[in-house]
């Protein structure tokens, strides 16, 4: 056979021929017996020696096929078949009990680790109440009293506030001029006393005051919602705090932590 025919056959086997070429090729196989023989062997060679295909040739000697088929049906081969089935089950059993013990141990450890991580790192810092406590603690509240203006009542109220005697502080502050700062102290006291509706109103009046201090109102209102466990409301308020506003960084921190709770 010549090189050209060889190339043609190769291209056929590698699916490189066009539709028309394939039709011509198949026609030639029907008419040219030498070409067909050559092609059949090339196919055999190709399918045996490449790593992807398999040669299911029909050229296999039918006598041998029959002989071997009968051998597979022999008594002792049938016994071997049964033994192999049994051994497969035994092997699986012996191996899988080891595997499942390991699996069980691993899953239990995983649960413990998860539990530990969640409790130690995720939950404590991010429960709204805990966030409320830690961020309130770190919020500096300007003093009610300052040089040149020592209002007796204010300093008493301030002391009571710092001692966390909020009820008493409130009773004094309610009778004082409601400047923004005073309102702040009132709101915080109400918040600490769990007088939520009143605290909300107080902070709202700070916010609506259209004064420089209004962003402080947003911050405390957010803290209030955290204490009340109204997480989405807290987030909503925090997002209103702009980049140059009071407590912007802390607001972002809380938003990040709250984000993880969703």
């Amino acid at each position: 056979m010549n090189l050209n025919d060889n190339i043609l056959i190769e291209n056929f086997l590698r699916n490189k021929l066009s539709k028309e070429e394939i039709t011509l090729f198949k026609e030639r196989l029907n008419t040219d017996t030498n070409f067909k023989k050559y092609f059949e062997f090339e196919k055999e060679l190709f399918k045996n020696l490449n790593n992807e295909e398999w040669d299911f040739t029909k050229k296999t000697n039918p006598k041998l096929v029959e002989e071997y088929t009968k051998l597979f049906q022999h008594e002792d081969v049938k016994e071997l078949k049964e033994t192999l089935k049994q051994e497969t089950e035994n092997f699986k059993k012996n191996n899988s009990s080891v595997i499942s013990l390991k699996k069980i141990f691993l899953s239990i450890s995983a649960v413990f680790i998860l539990f530990f991580v969640v409790n130690k790192f995720i939950l404590p810092n991010n429960s709204p109440k805990k966030l409320y406590v830690s961020y309130l603690k770190n919020t500096e509240i300007p003093s009610l009293t300052h040089r040149g203006n020592t209002n007796k009542n204010l300093s008493i109220a301030q002391n009571l506030f710092e001692q966390k005697k909020y009820k008493k502080a409130l009773s004094i502050l309610k009778n004082v001029d409601s400047k923004i700062l005073v309102l702040l102290y009132i709101g915080i006291s109400q918040m600490e006393l769990d007088k939520f509706k009143e605290a909300e109103n107080t902070f709202n009046s700070i916010i609506n005051n259209k004064n420089l201090n209004t962003t402080k109102g947003l911050w405390f209102k957010a803290l209030l919602y955290l204490k009340m466990n109204r997480v989405s409301d807290a987030k909503y308020v925090l997002q209103k705090i702009n980049k140059t506003d009071y407590k912007y960084t802390e607001a972002q921190e809380i938003l990040n932590k709250l984000g993880r709770l969703d």
């Binding site: 090189l3 060889n6 190339i7 590698r14 062997f41 060679l45 190709f46 045996n48 020696l49 490449n50 790593n51 992807e52 295909e53 398999w54 040669d55 299911f56 040739t57 050229k59 296999t60 000697n61 039918p62 041998l64 096929v65 029959e66 002989e67 071997y68 088929t69 051998l71 597979f72 049906q73 022999h74 002792d76 081969v77 016994e79 071997l80 078949k81 033994t83 192999l84 089935k85 049994q86 051994e87 497969t88 035994n90 092997f91 699986k92």
Partner: protein, 185 residues
């Protein structure tokens, strides 16, 4: 250990030795099959069929394994799996795909394995140069790449070398007694 030790044990249905065969060989085979689109059940079937094939072959004639038993068994399993994957490839829809554990199909697989071994053996008997280029050819490497790797001047030279080497391999195979008996009709 003498390779025939394991083959004899299979024929004798020696379950102690069969356990050893499983212990040493099943997991690598399973891994191979799982990594090649197979499931655990396929691995179990292939492994059993491979051992049956070896037993029957040894029953018919005391053949010799040239490498070690474990490597040989692994190759038989790989081939059986490759055969299985190809069964489902280009089949017409109303063609009944023979079951892996069907006796006649196992007989065919056995004979195809013998032919594969013969082809591989004849390939290894060609000259070193022919071996190199034919291995590239059967790996479906492009002629241009072949020419580059083997330092030929052009693609045409590579083609001619492949043609020549294939001719000598063909002769080796077609004149082989075993081949003649396997394919005689």
């Amino acid at each position: 250990m003498d390779n025939s030790y394991f083959l004899k044990a299979l024929l004798d249905n020696n379950s102690r030795v069969i356990k050893i065969i499983y212990k040493n060989n099943f997991n690598p085979v399973k891994r191979f099959i799982l990594q090649n689109k197979g499931q655990e059940q396929d691995a179990e079937d292939i492994f059993q069929v491979a051992l049956l094939q070896l037993a029957v072959r040894y029953k018919k004639e005391k053949f010799e394994i040239n490498t070690n038993f474990n490597a040989y068994l692994f190759t038989v399993c790989k081939n059986l799996w490759r055969r299985e994957l190809n069964k489902h490839k280009n089949k017409v829809t109303n063609y009944q795909i023979p079951e892996l554990k069907d006796d006649k199909d196992m007989a065919l697989a056995l004979l195809e394995q013998e032919k594969w071994e013969l082809f591989s053996k004849m390939l290894s008997k060609t000259s070193d140069n022919c071996k190199k280029i034919l291995q590239l050819f059967f790996a479906k490497v492009k002629y241009s790449e072949m020419a580059k790797q083997l330092n030929y001047n052009s693609e045409t030279v590579a083609r001619q070398r492949v043609f020549k080497c294939k001719k000598s391999l063909t002769k080796l195979i077609q004149e082989n007694k075993k081949y003649k008996s396997l394919t005689q009709s």
